[in-house]
């Protein structure tokens, strides 16, 4: 199975809020080309886009690594931003520390992480305050 994995890597610019979303847009196109079920593409696109936006607006930029195998899509965001002090609190609907700039773009409702949890089959967050955050999303293709 391992020889069937497609690996993709994206640098996520933390300085330009307006172009955020390009990695998610590309992955959506790749999944479409691979003929993945539209419902799975949609769940992947929404949860990845939330993660990408978080990497930009909270993580100050980072990288996204995507692994697509016949049975799952794994997305890992890594940043070296401020980190998350209390992950449980960050997971609550409505909790947000988004900046005024992020809010002006229509973000900061504190819905991203709960939404990622809802749409992905697994969401794993590892974070050290002052060092950064790693967010892993897994979407099963054949569940």
């Amino acid at each position: 199975m391992n020889n069937n994995i497609i690996t993709l890597h994206y640098d996520i610019d933390g300085t330009n809020f307006t172009i955020a979303g390009q990695a998610s847009s590309n992955i959506k196109k790749v999944l479409k080309q691979l003929g993945v079920d539209p419902a799975i593409i949609r769940r992947t696109a929404i949860s990845m886009y939330e993660g990408e936006i978080n990497t930009v607006i909270h993580g100050k930029g980072g990288v996204a690594d995507i692994y697509i195998s016949p049975d799952q899509i794994r997305i890992v965001f890594t940043d070296h931003g401020p980190g998350i002090a209390d992950i449980e609190k960050a997971m609550q609907e409505g909790f947000s520390t988004a900046s005024a700039e992020a809010r002006e773009l229509g973000f900061g409702a504190g819905m991203g992480l709960p939404n990622m949890k809802k749409y992905a089959d697994a969401l794993n967050i590892e974070s050290t305050p002052g060092e950064g955050t790693t967010v892993e999303l897994i979407i099963n293709i054949h569940s």
């Binding site: 979303g21 959506k28 900061g108 819905m111």
Partner: protein, 119 residues
């Protein structure tokens, strides 16, 4: 609802060059918070918003929303339009405010596409 009826109801100006006259929408959502669109919108209808930036287009893209109406006479910049255009979206602008624009479409029979939240 056919987009011709939407356009007429909102007295909207179509800004994109994507063919639109034969397109139908079955539901709509009025929202300025992209987080909420991503969290609550159920099906691929039309988005009405007073927010103008490229993330509106990106959000619509992720949600498979193909029709966007900017309210209160807002006209997106060319780069935003180009982004929408590259994904065959239909973009229009209406001078009505968000609440009124949504109300007019609702009155014409276009339902909402956001599920009712438990209190």
């Amino acid at each position: 609802m056919n987009l011709k009826q939407v356009q007429k109801t909102l007295d909207a100006t179509i800004l994109s060059t994507t063919p639109w006259e034969d397109v139908d929408v079955h539901s709509a959502c009025g929202c300025d918070l992209m987080s909420d669109v991503l969290a609550f919108v159920k099906d691929q209808g039309m988005l009405l918003t007073g927010l103008v930036n490229p993330q509106v287009i990106r959000t619509a893209e992720m949600m498979d929303i193909r029709v966007i109406a900017f309210v209160r006479g807002k006209v997106p910049s060319q780069d935003i339009l180009d982004l929408a255009q590259s994904m065959d979206m239909i973009v229009m602008t209406t001078s009505y405010p968000l609440y009124t624009a949504c109300g007019m479409l609702y009155e014409q029979g276009l339902p909402g596409n956001v599920r009712k939240e438990q209190p």
